[in-house]
């Protein structure tokens, strides 16, 4: 597959995907379950190791087309060259690696694949996973350039999940990784445990290349991705850059927890850090949270104020009782103002005060003695008498009447004597 990429560039990657998509469903082989390694039809780790060793032991079996195609000969191509379909795939710049891989079962339809074929499959599986990841990350025509520029996360993600997808021949998986697909941990180490070629060994033993080296390949610093990447580099695959060493499991968390453990830039979970943190704030032996938000606080939330530990302790009351202090200050202020305005102190004023005292004392000494004030007890006008004729009035009336009658008789008698005398 490295040959295809180098010969065709990014277009070949796109075509590879298209070819994979156009494959019939009968050619697709389901991915080996993780719990059934080495089952019939699925290469086991031991098989892959043996296949890789066998492939390395007979490099001369590689067809000239692969040698002339590039330096990136891998075990899958070498062993795949034995197969007609694989040879055609290697020789044709337009063909994809998927064809070469999927052709193998076709060639092995008469019986179970031998160990060499299993090794080829497993070896090519890892390489395809990286290759397909690269091709999937570059659905455009940019090819490797975009694979490098796409970012470490995208590359790493597709490196793990996309590899199995290309193996299954399901192009949709590239966009939607399946959890049932074998993880990198199950695939890539099989190809990287035993360097197939001297170049691979050198690459495996050599120190990790720095980023942006002239080789154009970037290797992650640690992790199995590192080994897989170096293997792919040595085997002719143009490895997608993983500068940060981040994998799909780091992003998606779906492909194996073991990979997640090895993440170099693993960010700690804040909750886990808090739970594991030995630092705990306590107040009087109680956790700070219980003090700030005690359990059952709502039960006594209707209480007002706190109970005094010592009711006789009136400390602090003076702070609130500033009324007297203010009144005292106000009194002194008023006194000073009054003194400045109305204090007149001199001998003359003292003499005037003496005279005023004498006047007041005269008034006070002439004050009426204390006693009850006269008050009228009866009505102001006496009521008219309503009694009848009494004896005294009758006698008085009789006397008066008798006197008047006697004087009348005397008057007439005297007049009669005068008329007789004249």
């Amino acid at each position: 597959m490295g040959i295809d990429r180098r010969s065709t560039g990014s277009n070949a990657n796109t075509e590879n995907i298209e070819n994979t998509e156009n494959k019939p469903a009968t050619e697709r082989r389901p991915p080996p379950p993780p719990d059934r390694p080495g089952e019939e039809g699925f290469p086991s780790r031991a098989d892959s190791r043996r296949g890789a060793a066998a492939a390395n032991s007979k490099p001369e079996t590689a067809p000239p087309a692969q040698e002339t195609a590039g330096e990136q000969n891998d075990a899958s191509l070498e062993t795949g060259s034995d197969k007609p379909a694989a040879s055609r795939s290697a020789q044709s710049s337009e063909s994809s690696d998927e064809n070469s891989v999927t052709d193998k079962p076709t060639g092995a339809e008469s019986g179970p694949p031998n160990k060499t074929e299993r090794a080829d499959v497993s070896t090519a599986e890892g390489l395809r996973s990286a290759e397909t990841a690269t091709s999937e990350s570059t659905h455009t025509d940019s090819g490797m350039r975009q694979a490098k520029n796409a970012g470490p996360e995208a590359e790493g993600s597709r490196d793990a999940s996309g590899g199995s997808a290309s193996f299954e021949g399901k192009p949709q998986i590239t966009d939607k990784p399946e959890t049932t697909a074998p993880t990198r941990e199950q695939k890539l180490p099989e190809t990287s445990d035993v360097p197939h070629r001297p170049a691979d060994r050198k690459a495996a033993e050599a120190p990790l290349p720095e980023r942006d080296q002239p080789g154009g390949t970037e290797a992650p610093p640690t992790g199995r991705h590192d080994t897989a990447s170096r293997t792919m580099e040595a085997s002719g695959g143009t490895t997608a850059a993983q500068p940060e060493g981040r994998s799909t499991s780091e992003r998606t968390g779906e492909h194996g927890g073991a990979m997640a453990v090895e993440k170099p830039n693993d960010k700690p979970d804040p909750a886990a850090v808090v739970a594991k943190s030995p630092l705990q704030l306590t107040v009087d032996g109680k956790p700070l949270r219980e003090v700030l938000d005690p359990v059952g606080a709502a039960a006594w939330s209707n209480e007002i104020g706190d109970e005094l530990s010592d009711p006789a302790d009136r400390a602090g009351d003076r702070v609130a009782n500033t009324k007297d202090d203010n009144a005292e200050k106000d009194r002194k202020s008023r006194a000073e103002a009054f003194r400045g305005a109305f204090r007149r102190d001199s001998e003359k004023v003292a003499d005037k005060a003496g005279k005023g005292a004498d006047r007041l004392q005269d008034i006070l000494t002439r004050r009426p003695p204390p006693g009850h004030q006269e008050a009228r007890t009866g009505p102001d006008v006496a009521p008219a008498p309503h009694q009848g004729l009494d004896t005294g009035s009758a006698i008085t009336t009789a006397l008066v009447t008798g006197a008047l009658i006697g004087e009348g008789i005397r008057f007439f008698h005297r007049r009669l004597k005068e008329q007789k005398g004249t």
Partner: protein
């Protein structure tokens, strides 16, 4: 010249306020010596301030209270109706309450009005002998502060 408040001055004023006029006349005669009266007007002013402060600051100091008290004092101690200036009396009381800080009253009016109002206030308080002594002690203390 400011003189310190003497015991004789305090006793003299106390005798006047207690109604012991004979005692007052005797003590006042003792103050006839030169310089013995110095400070006596200050003692009268301090006693007036103390009495008016008790009456109007703690017992109500509205304008109605002041006017009513001045009217009562005039009805008792101003037979002619011209011996107590009602304006001067109200100004002095308002000055005790802090409402007036400046006045153009002459010295004779001030000291006469102060003594008349002081006599009316003490008579209204109906002090006992002990209470009067305490009142005079506070008045002397204030007068001493003013003369320092």
């Amino acid at each position: 010249m400011t003189m310190a408040i003497t015991d004789s001055q305090v006793a003299t004023l106390r005798a006047h306020l207690a109604g012991n006029f004979d005692e007052y006349q005797r003590l006042w005669a003792d103050l006839a010596r030169p310089g013995a009266k110095g400070g006596y007007p200050t003692l009268i002013a301090a006693a007036f301030f103390e009495a008016a402060d008790r009456r109007f600051t703690k017992g109500g100091g509205t304008d109605t209270d002041v006017i009513a008290f001045v009217g009562s004092a005039r009805s008792r101690f101003d037979e002619k109706g011209d011996e107590i200036d009602p304006h001067a009396a109200e100004v002095l009381i308002r000055a005790v309450l802090g409402d007036v800080t400046e006045t153009d009253l002459d010295d004779d009016t001030v000291i006469t009005t102060q003594l008349t109002l002081l006599t009316a206030l003490v008579l209204d308080e109906q002090f006992s002998g002990e209470q009067l002594d305490k009142f005079m002690a506070e008045a002397r203390k204030l007068a001493d502060e003013w003369t320092d």
